[in-house]
Symmetry: C2
Subunit: 249 residues, 2 copies
DNA sequence: GCATGCGATTAACCTCGATCATGACGATTC
DNA sequence: GAATCGTCATGATCGAGGTTAATCGCATGC
């Protein structure tokens, strides 16, 4: 199903079969989009949202000189601009990074869901807040890490996210991105990303060639990028949620 | 009322009287908190959220060395950790920056609201996505602006937000923050924030003394920080939403 | 009266990453 | 086969901002 990867293995909020079916039924059309196409522009009024089925998409802001700062990248299973449902106007552009397959969900369908299925509504709400949590990790990355740490953190995050989508084995994965893309994500220049990539390779942490990332030493890479996957809210039987005063569940 | 400033003058989503009353009724307690206190820690399980009535609060992530990166500051009227309602666990700490008055809303009340009032639910959802939009502006700030631009952008944003809360006249406002706080927001050192503040003063853009900001040249300051308030979704009869293919309304 | 402490300020020094430039390699097009 | 373009690679130079440290102003407390 098109929604199979949506909220997969997320702590406590994975969809029930009925909920998934309802969401699937909300899809009006699916289509393929070529690489590097703009799907939605900042300020546009939207009455539908986009579920990413295959490929990689991004959201970004432009500066005065036309340079971009990516604020999110989206992987298969992500509801790319679900936040357009309550917001209606986006504050950024949305585009593809690679060829992509997308499914369209009209907002009128979401109206129906929010009227009838409060539990599913909370899960959709959760999905948009997961993106916000990733924004916060990116803020940490840009504000507190040096260039090497930023790239390391980004690779760690993407590895975990792709793994939960079943698209990485945890050791290597294909990311259709160039060094210039990574630069726009990490707030660096492509020249410097190139040097960072070389450094990471020489230190035996990871390699990045032809859009393919290979993790050589996951622990060291995570340490270098101060990466802790807790903010991704992924179910992992091996690492239960942190201790706290939570009632059992 | 305690909720008077919540979603005030936000494009198309201000609360109806009945909705505001319902939210007001959802408040269980109010209390005052002293400055620099932690309200919630990362990972904790939460069954209530906090509406900020008076004062300034922040959300932040710690790096390995104990340095903090602020990911949000909250002003009176903000529903500081409403995102804890769907998320249950936060990925960051929440604390006060100044003495504050807060109102507590138990999640069971929000359960009831989401069951019975889908329209209000969408507005609450909107409020959490507004915070995400601000996250994105902060990402732009950290990723694409230099030190002077970052501080300029932050002062512009805060001015507009405080103005919509009725706490700034657009020319000057009191922000209980130190230069060190601004450093944690802008990903800089306090020493450099000091240099930036001097520069902004010497250039006649704004001053920052004793936690008070005075805007000397709003247009120049906005230009220097590449600030465009669209992402704050504030109703402003003087500046209608950007042109697009939206059906009339 | 003095001690204490926080925040602002300023200087000296140095590093990280930007900028500018050049070239290699492979894929595409004509 | 030549030309073009996107991506990767690498060197040289420079400047924005970090680091360290010293000082000052001012409030608070004893």
């Amino acid at each position: 199903m098109l929604t199979d990867r949506f909220l997969r293995d997320r702590r406590g909020v994975s969809l029930e079969a009925g909920e998934r079916a309802r969401l699937e039924a909300a899809i009006s059309t699916t289509s393929t989009v070529e690489s590097r196409k703009i799907i939605a522009r900042a300020g546009e009024w939207l009455d539908q949202s986009t579920l990413l089925v295959e490929g990689i998409m991004s959201r970004y802001l432009d500066d005065r000189d036309g340079l971009r700062q990516l604020v999110a990248i989206h992987l298969p299973g992500d509801f790319v601009d679900l936040h357009a449902y309550p917001l209606k106007h986006l504050d950024h552009d949305v585009g593809t990074m690679t060829p992509a397959t997308i499914a369209i969900v009209p907002h009128v369908e979401l109206d129906a869901i929010t009227e009838e299925m409060p539990e599913l509504t909370r899960k959709l709400w959760f999905a948009t807040l997961l993106d916000a949590a990733i924004h916060r990790a990116w803020l940490f990355r840009l504000g507190r890490l040096d260039a090497i740490g930023r790239v390391a953190h980004f690779f760690c995050e993407t590895n975990v996210r792709l793994q939960s989508a079943g698209l990485s084995d945890g050791r290597q994965f294909t990311l259709g991105l160039t060094q210039a893309d990574v630069a726009e994500i990490c707030g660096l220049t492509t020249v410097h990303v190139n040097r960072v990539v070389r450094h990471l390779r020489e230190e035996g942490l990871c390699t990045f060639r032809n859009g393919k990332v290979e993790i050589l030493d996951a622990a060291k890479l995570a340490r270098r990028g101060q990466f802790d996957p807790a903010y991704l809210y992924i179910d992992d039987p091996a690492s239960p949620p942190p201790p706290d005063q939570r009632p059992r569940r």
